[in-house]
Symmetry: C2
Subunit: 212 residues, 2 copies
């Protein structure tokens, strides 16, 4: 089978959230038509997306909500356990640590790494804050699945270099900086606040222009 398009993977969490919502409401079954009416998308796209996974026996009956959400959860690997570290526990970083369990289950935050002497040695929501000088050694000595990077743009690339050299496998990047991981097989998932706001900004400006 051909490689599954990334656009499809990006839509799965959306389906999952919607199905979780319906499940929480006590709904039992939902058709692709009804689900997609709520999601404002074409039913054939949902069916096409699901067709990438596994041989469903042909079923001409609306989806079992609980079954489908488990299915999608399994595809996304929600049942797996991963470990994380956080680099740069400033305002945003600390907020992420505290909210982590609300975001996705199954992550253990092993530690946070900071430059600030006042913060080193303290804890954030039970997570110890270490000196960032020991970052590389920590990654080498522990099984760390992802590093959450929440430092300012300036030191972002240098810290990414340290992480990559130490053998990190994935970076969740909040720095608004495009990271270069060279030829290394490191996953980088970007959350660029600034790009998101600029995108919105474009349409706001556009609308202003129309009425001028």
């Amino acid at each position: 089978m051909k490689r599954i398009p990334d656009d499809v993977i990006r839509r799965l969490p959306l389906y999952l959230r919607k199905l979780d919502g319906l499940y929480a409401k006590g709904e039992k079954r939902v058709s692709s038509g009804e689900l997609c009416r709520q999601l404002r998308m074409e039913p054939s796209q949902l069916r096409r997306d699901l067709a990438w996974f596994g041989d469903f026996p042909q079923q001409a009956f609306a989806y079992d909500i609980d079954g489908l959400r488990r299915e999608i959860g399994k595809i996304l690997g929600t049942h797996e356990e991963f470990s994380a570290i956080l680099v740069g526990p400033g305002k945003i970083g600390s907020a992420l640590i505290e909210h982590f369990s609300f975001i996705v289950d199954g992550y253990e935050v092993l530690g946070a790494f900071d430059v600030s002497p006042e913060r080193i040695g303290t804890e954030i929501a039970g997570v110890p804050v270490y000196d960032i000088a020991g970052l590389g050694d920590f990654v080498r000595e522990h099984k760390v699945d992802i590093a959450i990077l929440t430092v300012p743009r300036g030191p972002a690339q240098k810290l990414a270099d340290v992480l990559v050299e130490s053998g990190i496998r994935a970076i969740w990047n909040f720095t608004n900086e495009e990271l270069d991981v060279g030829a290394a097989d490191v996953l980088v998932e970007n959350v660029h606040f600034s790009d998101s706001l600029l995108h919105l900004n474009y349409y706001l400006a556009q609308r202003n222009g129309e009425t001028d």
Copy 2:
């Protein structure tokens, strides 16, 4: 001319960041080839994207970095001034208020709205915290361009309803909830942490599966 594809608009902030970086390094000119080598994309895509905007006189010479970044900035409306309010100044919300000026210039945060009696009446980085009960009236009585929504998933849709009814024009949505704004002409820009992490999670799980 045909409508500009949203994918193109989404790439502009990336170009802008890269050009800003080169400009800060003191570079003067850059070719589409060199720029795209760094961005790991096809030069023809960059040129095609830029072609959507304005009639550039045909120039067969590498881009003037400062000129191009100003051009793209203008397209994205970075020179315009917008006003914002923040709904739900918890950890993430407060962090956003404090970092706002680092994200994109030109936004004034008029106020934050909270349910918590201890926070109402205080200030966050100079931004007053009001009672959320007054949210609708505030939006009606002030010119508010965007509402930043950083509340838990539970009350998200209800607050979106209040905002939409009060005439808000855009919502920057951090709630991990898909907001329904009905038929109203309201821009919704989503920053779904959970979707982003699940996307990364998929590839992590995938990689584990391969080696098992």
